[in-house]
């Protein structure tokens, strides 16, 4: 009898050790699968720091449903294969929600793992295909390119009277998705493409690219690259004395590009889904807190991560339980306002595909500082 009891206890212990979800009883585990090295280190660091800030605030205020939140960083090294392994590791470690990554190429391969395990994933990726793959567990924290390009092209056509554009884009999932959406929108407005210049992730030398853009004699140049490459491109554009106006999307207008490219970024205009310079009290307060803690200005990735953390808090609190399936179900079709949850900063909605919708901004860099030219309403 005694032996049976011992055997029963041993089996119970062995079974419980094999169930990662049992750990939810102690802390809520959030996996931050993000680019902390490689080409995406710049954006990943912003994301990580803001996520840490948000969950420190949430924990200091009593956590979520009375439980503390434990955030673990998993470095994807900006490598899709590693990111997939990291998502699997995060799930094995008992992740309730996965935050990140940002690079679309990584999300493309790792989102299936989260989907198969029924774990919600809040990503910073912007390539259009992310929300078109029928994955009920993927949610954006920022606009997909197919949402931001119509706003930007309308501005180019109506306000800037642009008739032709030279495009510089990075040849990965992010760049190709954005470039395709942009070209499709140009067609609707009768704007022609005079140069279509692709570059590689991590490319250092942009001399030939800029000469091709310049010699196309387009009315404007549109740049859609990651942050470091954007900075190198802008430096080369200034070096070669290019006079055409330069436009871009969120990455080109990133604070990191401003820091890296220096004066070369002045005069660049673009559409951004989020900016630390947005004339919105919540965003302004977040930017102050972030800068005080980390001693650098947050970029849009930081805002995305900060908001994402509060999405986790709001939805979990609303559900009244730490349940991944209930989380995914509740976020589809949800609108969160700053009145509901101050940490959300701006009113934000998610549709049935996990696509995000909120106000956005047209900005120009003047004297090394982003200036909001106008606020564009939700689509």
């Amino acid at each position: 009898m005694k032996k049976r009891a011992i055997a029963a206890i041993a089996i119970a212990v062995a079974l419980s050790a094999g169930l990662p979800n049992m750990s939810w009883a102690d802390t809520i585990k959030i996996a931050n699968v993000i680019e902390l090295s490689g080409a995406g280190a710049t954006v990943g660091s912003n994301w990580r720091d803001a996520l840490k800030l948000a969950f420190e605030e949430i924990n200091a205020a009593g956590g979520i449903l009375g439980e503390q939140v434990e955030v673990t960083d998993y470095d994807t090294q900006t490598d899709p294969t590693i990111s997939r392994a990291m998502v699997q590791k995060a799930i094995d470690d008992g992740a309730y929600v996965i935050m990140g990554p940002i690079y679309s190429g990584s999300v493309k391969v790792n989102m299936m793992v989260a989907q198969q395990n029924g774990v919600p994933q809040l990503t910073g990726a912007e390539a259009p295909f992310i929300t078109d793959m029928g994955n009920p567990y993927i949610f954006r924290t920022s606009f997909g390119a197919q949402q931001s390009m119509p706003k930007l092209v309308k501005y180019l056509a109506d306000e800037m009277k642009v008739k032709s554009v030279a495009i510089a884009w990075v040849n990965d999932d992010f760049g190709k998705g954005g470039r395709d959406s942009f070209v499709a929108e140009l067609g609707k407005h009768g704007i022609t493409v005079t140069a279509d210049v692709s570059s590689e992730v991590g490319q250092a030398d942009f001399a030939a690219d800029v000469i091709k853009l310049k010699s196309s004699n387009a009315d404007a140049i549109f740049a859609y690259l990651h942050e470091e490459e954007s900075a190198r491109l802008l430096k080369e554009i200034r070096k070669q004395g290019v006079t055409q106006p330069i436009f871009g999307e969120t990455t080109l207008m990133n604070q990191k590009v401003v820091d890296l490219a220096g004066e070369a970024v002045n005069g660049v205009r673009g559409h951004v889904g989020l900016t630390a310079n947005a004339p919105i009290p919540g965003v302004e307060e977040f930017a102050k807190k972030f800068e005080a803690k980390y001693n650098y200005k947050p970029d849009h990735n930081a805002i995305k991560a900060y908001m994402g953390a509060y999405v986790v808090k709001h939805v979990t609190t609303k559900n009244g339980k730490v349940d991944p399936q209930a989380f995914a179900d509740a976020l589809h079709g949800l609108t969160i306002t700053p009145a509901d949850e101050p940490g959300i900063l701006m009113e934000t909605s998610w549709d049935d595909k996990g696509e995000v919708n909120r106000d956005s901004f047209l900005v120009e860099v003047k004297d090394g500082k982003q200036t909001v030219v106008s606020t564009l309403p939700k689509l």
Binding site: E200, A208, D209, I211, S215, A231, K239
Partner: protein, 292 residues
């Protein structure tokens, strides 16, 4: 035609930086049969010495540059020779190749771990103005980089051919045993070669970092291209390494513009294969004998 001229000059400027690194390969090979596969990381590192001086020690930019030069000579020249090369030299080329590969990885990962994985802006040394030459807009920065790099190579040639120490270094490179019999302090001459390589790495670093930004991974491409440039030009000749560097800089730019940006990195490798098949000693190299 204007576009071609711009591409050509811009390629020469980038190529001249490759040439500085390629000459380093050549010098070390001549002096001590050392193939330094950490050469790319040697070029990445001095920019971080400068940034550490300005950011953490609050030094002015010129003072930080002077200290970075001194550190480059000490660590990348003297330290590299004493700690890595001297103990391994008696064991042949292969252990040195493996050791320098390991050193390259260690340096790269060390900067990533203890400094930053992110790219950092590096102050521009020259104006960002452009000059109109023959109808093409040529940047002052490109011209300055080209002139400084070529000036450094010219000074090096002058030093090697016009001074007693330079001639002793050449004698050491040609035949160290005979040079020693003739009273040349061979060990000291080899040390001088390593110090010159450290100085060239420093120069290449401060010329390329304002354009490429300072980043731990910068050495990966630079080291490989410089190695290819040295082989293409001729591993046993300074003028060969110079020609190889300039050639690859120009070809890289022209192929990115006129062939395909996606395959630009393959073009130097194709050139390398052709050279190895057609002229194994390199464009300006000598089939026999070794001279600095």
């Amino acid at each position: 035609m204007n576009t071609f001229f711009q591409l050509f000059v811009s390629g020469l400027a980038t190529g001249s930086i490759y040439a500085l690194a390629a000459i380093g390969f050549t010098l070390l090979w001549q002096a001590s049969q050392t193939i330094n596969f950490a050469q790319g990381e040697f070029i990445m590192l001095p920019a971080f010495f400068v940034l550490a001086g300005t950011q953490f020690l609050g030094l002015s930019f010129p003072v930080a540059m002077a200290i970075a030069l001194a550190l480059s000579l000490l660590l990348l020249g003297f330290g590299f020779k004493r700690i890595i090369i001297d103990p391994l030299l008696p064991h042949g080329v292969l252990p040195i190749v493996i050791a320098t590969m390991a050193l390259g990885i260690l340096t790269k990962e060390g900067v990533k771990q203890f400094y930053t994985a992110e790219a950092l802006p590096f102050p521009a040394l020259f104006s960002d103005r452009t000059l109109n030459i023959l109808g093409a807009a040529i940047s002052v920065q490109d011209i300055a980089v080209l002139l400084i790099a070529l000036g450094a190579v010219a000074l090096l040639q002058l030093f090697l051919n016009g001074t007693k120490i330079g001639r002793c270094m050449q004698a050491t490179a040609q035949n160290p045993q005979v040079a020693e019999i003739l009273g040349v302090p061979v060990k000291r001459m080899i040390l001088y070669t390593f110090l010159i390589n450290g100085a060239l790495a420093f120069l290449a670093s401060i010329l390329i970092s304002p354009i490429y930004l300072a980043k731990f991974s910068n050495g990966e491409t630079l080291g490989l291209i410089a190695f290819i440039a040295a082989i293409v030009g001729g591993f046993n000749q300074i003028r060969g390494a110079l020609a190889g560097g300039l050639l690859i800089g120009v070809i890289d730019n022209l192929s990115a513009a006129y062939i395909s940006a996606s395959y630009r990195s393959a073009v130097p490798l194709i050139l390398l294969i052709i050279i190895i098949l057609v002229r194994p000693q390199g464009l300006l190299g000598k089939a026999e004998g070794r001279t600095v």
